[in-house]
């Protein structure tokens, strides 16, 4: 393989764009796993669910996928809040969250995937939108719109989340619930309600991330599996529960993956995130911006 400067620059740029999308995929896990300590391994399955919701809106009403996802967020929020309620009553309250809670989410992941397979089959589905085709050219640099739009909206989403977490009462309560539930109760706040809201928000982001996913690539039900390792690698690398850390880690993994697939072939890209995950766990478990 001949090393070329053009290829390198293009790989870095598409890595950054993909990284923006990865940040949207991961921010939900940063909330649930990073802040609430709920190991929601079913998150990628909800993202695929989001993709299919965007797909249905798109083919039946011709709606823009991102707009469709925004419309669907309340439904995803309710779904998330409901799942947390079941999780709380069945596992957290009994103190069995480690083994059985994990099995519960694994079961959810599996049920979601098989249901989608039974309903939609394993064909690849894609959406139509004006920005999916065109590409901007600046000299030798190519910026595909289908990567740029999700990246920009995703960074907006994370900025809004970060503002909510740091500036509003509920957001601060979410940050606090992870540290000291009792202290929160003494401030007359119900920690379970706060956790329910936070988990609802985390699943609501999956709706948007799903729309981004189906804009970037065609989707079939088992695509989500590739994201499990990636999402948790980014979450851990960024530092648990730190949204700025998540963005940096997502960009980093995006760039390395994009370079790997440019210079070694796309079939090697999935191994990158796992390498990062193991390296982070072995060298610095607190992550880049971890406290």
């Amino acid at each position: 393989m001949i090393f070329s400067f053009d290829l390198l620059i293009n790989a870095v740029i598409s890595g950054i764009l993909i990284g923006g999308f990865y940040a949207a995929v991961t921010c939900g896990v940063s909330l649930s796993f990073g802040i609430l300590d709920i190991v929601n391994i079913a998150h990628p399955a909800f993202i695929i669910l989001g993709s299919y919701v965007a797909y249905i809106f798109n083919i039946s009403f011709g709606l823009d996928p991102i707009l469709a996802a925004i419309i669907a967020t309340p439904a995803f929020y309710v779904l998330g809040a409901g799942i947390y309620q079941v999780y709380y009553v069945s596992f957290e309250k009994r103190g069995q969250e480690s083994l059985r809670g994990l099995a519960f989410f694994f079961g959810l992941l599996f049920i979601t995937e098989v249901t989608l397979v039974l309903y939609f089959g394993v064909d690849y589905r894609y959406v139509e939108a004006r920005y999916i085709g065109p590409t901007w050219h600046f000299g030798f640099v190519d910026i595909p719109m289908r990567l740029l739009v999700p990246c920009v909206v995703s960074l907006l989403l994370i900025a809004v989340l970060q503002l909510v977490l740091t500036r509003t009462f509920v957001g601060r309560a979410i940050m606090a619930v992870a540290q000291d539930q009792l202290a929160l109760q003494l401030m007359a706040v119900d920690p379970i309600r706060i956790k329910r809201i936070a988990f609802g928000i985390s699943i609501a982001t999956a709706s948007l991330a799903g729309a981004f996913l189906i804009i970037i690539q065609p989707v079939e039900p088992s695509v989500g599996r590739e994201y499990i390792g990636r999402v948790f690698a980014i979450c851990v690398l960024g530092g648990m529960g730190s949204l700025p850390g998540t963005v940096i880690a997502a960009m980093l993994i995006g760039i390395v993956e994009s370079m790997t697939s440019t210079f070694y072939g796309p079939s090697w890209a999935p191994a990158v995130s796992f390498g990062f995950l193991l390296l982070t766990l072995a060298v610095r478990p607190a992550g880049l911006l971890g406290r």
């Binding site: 190991v39 083994l99 049920i111 999935p270 796992f274």
Partner: protein
């Protein structure tokens, strides 16, 4: 009961099953029975780490495929007899299990679980890119027609799996009643307290991961001969992961009986459902059963039986009492 005696009894039961299948004179029973026995091994192996230590392994498919692909690699070089392949597959899985455990087991349990999930994806990437074992096209293994004392080759494979299943159950039972088993139980119940009382938790967890991974690899080793055509996407399928978690959790995780009951029930149910309904629906059934059981019956079928009989748990599972009084558990 002593363990060697127990192993002999297991073998006798296995022999009776084998004789019954021969008497029915229908090779389908051997094909179906092989899968059931394979799941007995996988779920027992999973339970050694998951049930005894409380560490969740989502990478059953990865370890299973390691064994299977070791066989394929060896087959391409020089076809060895199955018992040697079992040893080779087990050895490779042991090495990978140990390495991954060493890197992730020092942290909280969730990290280990996530790492095992990712391991399956990465190993699949490696296999897909490795042309020697067939890459993404898959690999063919030509199964010999017959073998000396058994006649049909599938009967031979069934027999191998029967012995492996008996061995796995005996090992699980042995661990449960040894110092090792008590050590594992302390990790599951309160790792911090165990560490503080001088239990070498990391070493015990590594031992559990190694035994568990090795057994899974051994279960995978004869698989290419059984299936004839090995393909990455089906070998690394989620079926193995979800089944090997669902079976112990549905049967009951605290003793060796649980995974065996769970495996026999679920695997037979799936064999019947695959024939009568469809293979996608039976996976859905397993997923739903898993979720329902972890919510409604946290101690599995064994736990249900205990509550039903109102008997002391010790009567069923040997000397170690089952942990029924989890904090906040309903009475």
């Amino acid at each position: 009961m002593r363990s060697d005696l127990f192993f002999i009894i297991c073998l006798l039961i296995g022999g009776a099953v084998f004789a019954a299948a021969v008497a029915l004179n229908n090779d389908y029973y051997f094909f179906a029975g092989y899968v059931v026995l394979q799941y007995v091994v996988l779920s027992t192996a999973w339970n050694i780490l998951g049930g005894y230590c409380g560490y969740v392994n989502f990478g059953t498919a990865a370890f299973f495929a390691l064994g299977a692909y070791t066989t394929v690699a060896i087959y391409k070089l020089y076809p060895l007899p199955i018992p040697l392949l079992l040893v080779a597959g087990g050895a490779v899985s042991v090495i990978v299990g140990f390495g991954m455990g060493y890197l992730t087991l020092r942290l909280r349990g969730a990290f280990f679980a996530i790492a095992t999930l990712a391991l399956a994806v990465v190993l699949q990437t490696l296999i897909v890119n490795w042309d020697f074992v067939g890459g993404s096209r898959g690999a063919y293994i030509v199964r010999p027609e017959a073998i000396a004392p058994f006649g049909n080759y599938v009967r031979y494979l069934f027999m191998v799996m029967l012995v492996l299943a008996a061995a796995a159950v005996t090992i699980a039972r042995l661990i449960e009643r040894s110092r090792l088993g008590y050590g594992f139980a302390t990790i599951r119940d309160d790792e911090l307290a165990a560490e503080a009382s001088g239990v070498p938790t990391l070493r015990l967890k590594l031992i559990a991961t190694t035994i568990s991974g090795g057994l899974m690899g051994m279960a995978g080793a004869p698989f290419p001969y059984y299936i004839g055509y090995l393909q990455p996407s089906s070998t690394f399928g989620f079926d193995y992961a979800v089944n090997s978690i669902a079976m112990p959790l549905i049967g009951g995780t605290t003793s060796w009986v649980g995974p065996v009951i769970g495996a026999i029930l679920l695997a037979s149910l799936q064999q019947i459902a695959t024939v009568t309904i469809s293979s996608a629906v039976n996976l859905l059934i397993v997923g739903i059963l898993l979720v329902v059981f972890v919510i409604v019956a946290p101690n599995g079928i064994i736990g249900l039986v205990h509550t039903y009989l109102q008997r002391k748990p010790d009567d069923f599972v040997g000397r170690r009492p089952v942990k029924t009084d989890a904090p906040g558990a309903p009475p």
